[in-house]
C-alpha cells in the first residue's frame, strides 16, 4: 500500500494556493519572491509525483523539475539583484510603490 | 516546378534600402534622399522586367512556392502527426500584374515627390520602403495567409507616415485610419479563418478550385448561405478599404492630412487593394454569391458615384474635392464588378490602374501648389496658370483625364465598366452614365476656379515646375495617355486571367 498520487497532488495544491495568496497580498517584495518560490515548488512536487505515478511514468518529470529549479535559482538571483538596485534608488521594498512604469 | 524568385525579389528589394538607410547617418540628408529615391528604382526595373517577360497566353505565372510553416493539427490513423502547411506562395496573373507595375511606378514617383520632405528623413524613407514591401506583397501573394500578412503590413507604415509627417490634424486622421482599417482587417481575418477552417487550405488556386467546383468533395462543406455570409463579410472588409459609401470618412481625413507623397500612394494603390481583394478573393471564390449580390454591388456603386460627385461639387478644399472624387471613381469600379462579365471586370481593372495614375498625378500637383502658395483652398487660389503654365496645363490635363476624356485612361475604364454593366443591368448603367455629367461639373468647377480665372496679386510670382517635379508629372501623364490611346497594353495581359474568372460566374458570359 503506497501513498496515492492524489495525496501528493493535494499537498502541492495547498502549497500552491498558499504561495499564490502570499504573492497576491504581501507587500514586502522579498516575501512575494519567496511566495513565488513556494508556488514553483508545488509545481515541482506535481512533476515528480507524475514522474512516478503518472499515466506514462518516466524520468522526464524529474528532469523538468531540475530545470525548473535552475530557472528558479536564476530568477531569484536576478530578482534579488533588482530589488537591491531598486532599494538603493527608492529606499523601499514595498510592492505597492513599485509602479514607476505606469507613472 | 521551378521556383521563380523575381516576385520575391521585387517584394523584398525595399528591405535592402531599409538596411542601407539604417546605417546611414542621420545628418547626411542628401544621401538619404538619394538612397530613398534611387532605391525605388530597384523594384521598378524588376517590375518592368516582369512586364516584359509576362506571358500573355498563361494565367498565373512567376510562381514561387516554398514550405514555410507547418501547423500540427492532430494525429492521423497511423498515429503520426499531420500538419497543416502554410507555404510561401507568390505568383502573378493578368489582374495583379498591372497593379504591381502601377505600384512600382507610383512608388518611384511618390519617392521623387518626397524630395520636398524636411523632417526626419531617414525614418520617413524607412517607413516608406516598408510600405512598398507590403504593397508589392499584397499583389503577389498567392494565399490568404500571405495576403493578410502583407495587407496588414501596409497599415503600420501608413499610420506613422500619416501621424508624423501629416498636416495639422494628422494624429486624429491617423487614429481614424487605424480604427477603420483595423475593423476591416478584423472582419477579413475572421472570414479568412472561416474559409481556412472549413476548407483546410489557404492557397488561392486550390480555393478557387474547391469553391467553384460543385463536384469537389470539400465544396459541400459550405452551404450557400454560409458562402453568402462570407461574401458579404469580405465585401464589408474590402469595402472599408475601397471605400464604400458609409465607410468612407476615414479616407477623407487621410487624404487631407497626409503628406502629398503618402496621399499619392494611398489613393493610387492602397485603395486599390480593397478592390483587388474583392475581385481576387470575393468574386473569384464566391462567383454565385457575387452574382446574387451584384445588384447591390451596382447600387453601392451608384451611391458612391453620386454621393462622391455631389459632395465634391461643394467642397472648398482641393484635396477634399479629390478625395470625394476618389469615392466617386471607386463607385465605377463597383459598377464594373457588378456587371459580372469580362467587359465589366476589364473596365474595373482599368479603372483601378487609371484612377491610380490620375489621382497620383492630381495629388502630386496639389502638393506642388501647396508648396508654392501654402494653401489648397479653392477660393484662395485662382489664376495661377499665368505664372505656372506648365503645372496648370498638366493639372487641367489630369482633370480632363479624371472626368473621362477619351484619349486618356479614364475614358477606357469608365467606358468598359459602363458597357459591361449595360449588358447586365441597363437601367443601373444608364444612371451610372449620368454620373459622368456630375463628374464633369465638379472637376471643372474645382480646376477652373483654382487654376484659372483672374490672378490675385499675391499669386503672381510663383515658380513653375522644377525638373524634380516635372519628371513625375510627365511620366504620369504619359502613361495615362498611353493607356488611353493604346489600351491593349493593359488589356492583352488581362485576357487569360479573365478567362479563369468569368466562366465561373453564372449567367451571361462576356
Amino acid at each position: 500500500m503506497t501513498v496515492p498520487v492524489t495525496s501528493y497532488l493535494l499537498v502541492a495544491l495547498i502549497l500552491f494556493c498558499v504561495g499564490l495568496y502570499g504573492a497576491l497580498t504581501k507587500r514586502n517584495a522579498v516575501i512575494v519572491l519567496l511566495s513565488i518560490e513556494l508556488m514553483l515548488n508545488a509545481v515541482n512536487l506535481n512533476l515528480i509525483a507524475f514522474a512516478k505515478f503518472g499515466l506514462h511514468p518516466a524520468i522526464t518529470g524529474q528532469i523538468f523539475s531540475l530545470f525548473t529549479m535552475t530557472v528558479a535559482a536564476a530568477e531569484v538571483a536576478v530578482g534579488i539583484a533588482v530589488l537591491i538596485a531598486l532599494y538603493r534608488n527608492r529606499e523601499t521594498v514595498n510592492v505597492d510603490e513599485m509602479d514607476t512604469m505606469k507613472r | 516546378m521551378v521556383n521563380n524568385t523575381l516576385l520575391s525579389l521585387i517584394t523584398f528589394s525595399p528591405l535592402l534600402v531599409i538596411v542601407v538607410l539604417m546605417f546611414t547617418p542621420k545628418q547626411m540628408v542628401g544621401t538619404i534622399k538619394t538612397i530613398g529615391v534611387l532605391g525605388t528604382l530597384l523594384p521598378l526595373i524588376m517590375s518592368l522586367m516582369l512586364f516584359a517577360g509576362f506571358d500573355y497566353s498563361a494565367g498565373l505565372q512567376f510562381i514561387e512556392r516554398r514550405d514555410w510553416i507547418k501547423i500540427p493539427i492532430g494525429l492521423d490513423q497511423n498515429g503520426s502527426l499531420t500538419f497543416f502547411p502554410i507555404r510561401y506562395e507568390m505568383g502573378i496573373d493578368g489582374a495583379s500584374m498591372p497593379l504591381l507595375l502601377l505600384t512600382a511606378i507610383i512608388g518611384t514617383l511618390a519617392a521623387v515627390g518626397s524630395w520636398q520632405m524636411k523632417r526626419r528623413l531617414r525614418e520617413y524613407f524607412i517607413l516608406y520602403h516598408l510600405l512598398l514591401i507590403g504593397m508589392f506583397g499584397v499583389f503577389s501573394a498567392q494565399n490568404l495567409f500571405l495576403f493578410f500578412l502583407f495587407f496588414e503590413l501596409t497599415l503600420i507604415p501608413v499610420y506613422f507616415l500619416l501621424g508624423i509627417w501629416g498636416y495639422a490634424e494628422r494624429e486624429r486622421a491617423a487614429n481614424k485610419f487605424l480604427l477603420y482599417n483595423g475593423i476591416g482587417s478584423a472582419i477579413l481575418l475572421l472570414a479568412f479563418i472561416a474559409i481556412f477552417v472549413q476548407l483546410q487550405t489557404v492557397n488561392f488556386g486550390e480555393l478557387q478550385q474547391v469553391l467553384t467546383n460543385p463536384d469537389d468533395p470539400l465544396s459541400g462543406y459550405l452551404s450557400p448561405e454560409y458562402r453568402y455570409g462570407l461574401f458579404v463579410a469580405l465585401f464589408i472588409a474590402f469595402g472599408i478599404k475601397l471605400p464604400i459609401f458609409p465607410f468612407h470618412s476615414w479616407m477623407l481625413n487621410v487624404h487631407v492630412q497626409a503628406p502629398p507623397p503618402v496621399v499619392m500612394i494611398h489613393s493610387a494603390i492602397l485603395l486599390k487593394m480593397g478592390a483587388y481583394g474583392l475581385l481576387r478573393i470575393g468574386i473569384n471564390f464566391f462567383p454565385d454569391q457575387a452574382y446574387e449580390f451584384s445588384v447591390w454591388l451596382a447600387v453601392f456603386g451608384l451611391i458612391n458615384i453620386f454621393y462622391g460627385a455631389v459632395l465634391a461639387t461643394v467642397q472648398k478644399d482641393l484635396k477634399m474635392v479629390l478625395a470625394y472624387s476618389s469615392i466617386s471613381h471607386m463607385g465605377m469600379v463597383l459598377l464594373g464588378f457588378a456587371a459580372m462579365n469580362s467587359i465589366g471586370f476589364q473596365g474595373a481593372i482599368f479603372q483601378l490602374v487609371s484612377h491610380g495614375l490620375i489621382s497620383a498625378l492630381l495629388f502630386f500637383i496639389v502638393g506642388v501648389i501647396w508648396d508654392r502658395t501654402g494653401t489648397s483652398t479653392i477660393t484662395e487660389l485662382g489664376g495661377i496658370a499665368k505664372s505656372m503654365p506648365f503645372i496648370s496645363g498638366v493639372f487641367l490635363a489630369g482633370a480632363l483625364a479624371s472626368l473621362g476624356l477619351p484619349g486618356m485612361s479614364g475614358f477606357i475604364s469608365e467606358f468598359l465598366a459602363l458597357m459591361g454593366l449595360f449588358g447586365a443591368m441597363p437601367l443601373h448603367a444608364a444612371i451610372g452614365a449620368i454620373g459622368l455629367i456630375f463628374t464633369t461639373i465638379y472637376v471643372l468647377r474645382a480646376v477652373l476656379r483654382a487654376v484659372y480665372g483672374p490672378t490675385p496679386s499675391r499669386l503672381t510670382r510663383l515658380a513653375d515646375a522644377q525638373p524634380m517635379e516635372a519628371i513625375p508629372l510627365v511620366v504620369l501623364l504619359g502613361v495615362i495617355i498611353l493607356i488611353g490611346i493604346y489600351p491593349a497594353v493593359l488589356s492583352d495581359p488581362l485576357q487569360k486571367t479573365l478567362d479563369s474568372i468569368v466562366p465561373v460566374v453564372t449567367g451571361i458570359g462576356g
Binding site: G22, V30, E37, I59, L66, A81 | -
Partner: protein
C-alpha cells in the same frame, strides 16, 4: 498504516505548516526560516517519490542557496524588515476568496479524475536515480541543458551588474 503513510503525513504536515507560518509570521527573517523547513520537507517528499537526485538538489538549491540569498536580500534591504500591517483587508479578502475558489475547483478536478492505481506503478528500475537522470540529460535533453547553463551564466552576470553599486554613488 504503513511507515510510508506516517512519513508522508509528517512531511506534508511540516511542509504545509511551514508554508502557512511563512504567510502568517510578521518578521521577515522568521518567514524565511519557516520556508526553509518547507523546502526541506519537500525534499523528503521527493525521496518518497524515488527522486533522490532531485531531493538532494532541492536541499542544495532551495534550502541552501535560495534561502540564504533571500536572507541576504533582507539584510541588504533591511529597513522595514517587518511586514507592514497595512489595512488591506479588502484585497486580502478578495484574494482569499479567489484562491479558495481555485483550490476548490482544482481539488474537485483532482477528485473527479481517474488516476492510475499507485500499485501498478512500475517498480524502480535497476539503474540508480542519478544515473537515469544523467543519461536523460546528456542524451535527449542535452540542448535544453546547455541552454539552462547559458541562462545561469546570463543571470549571474545580470545579477552582478544590477546589484553592483553604480559609479559615483
Amino acid at each position: 498504516m504503513s511507515g510510508q503513510f506516517v512519513a508522508f503525513f509528517i512531511l506534508s504536515l511540516l511542509t504545509i505548516g511551514g508554508a502557512v507560518f511563512m504567510i502568517s509570521f510578521t518578521r521577515v527573517v522568521h518567514m524565511v526560516v519557516s520556508l526553509g523547513i518547507t523546502f526541506l520537507c519537500i525534499a523528503g517528499l521527493f525521496v518518497m517519490l524515488d527522486a533522490e537526485f532531485v531531493a538532494v538538489s532541492q536541499v542544495l538549491v532551495y534550502s541552501g542557496a535560495i534561502s540564504i540569498l533571500m536572507l541576504f536580500g533582507i539584510m541588504l534591504t533591511k529597513k522595514d524588515d517587518v511586514e507592514p500591517k497595512a489595512h488591506r483587508n479588502k484585497r486580502k479578502l478578495i484574494s482569499f476568496l479567489l484562491v479558495a475558489a481555485l483550490f476548490v475547483f482544482v481539488f474537485l478536478g483532482i477528485q473527479a479524475s481517474p488516476w492510475p492505481n499507485p500499485e501498478a506503478a512500475p517498480q524502480p528500475v535497476e539503474q540508480s536515480n542519478p544515473k537515469q537522470i544523467g543519461l536523460a540529460v546528456f542524451t535527449r535533453y542535452v540542448i535544453p541543458f546547455e541552454l539552462v547553463s547559458l541562462l545561469l551564466l546570463v543571470a549571474l552576470v545580470g545579477a552582478i551588474l544590477m546589484a553592483k553599486k553604480e559609479d559615483g554613488k
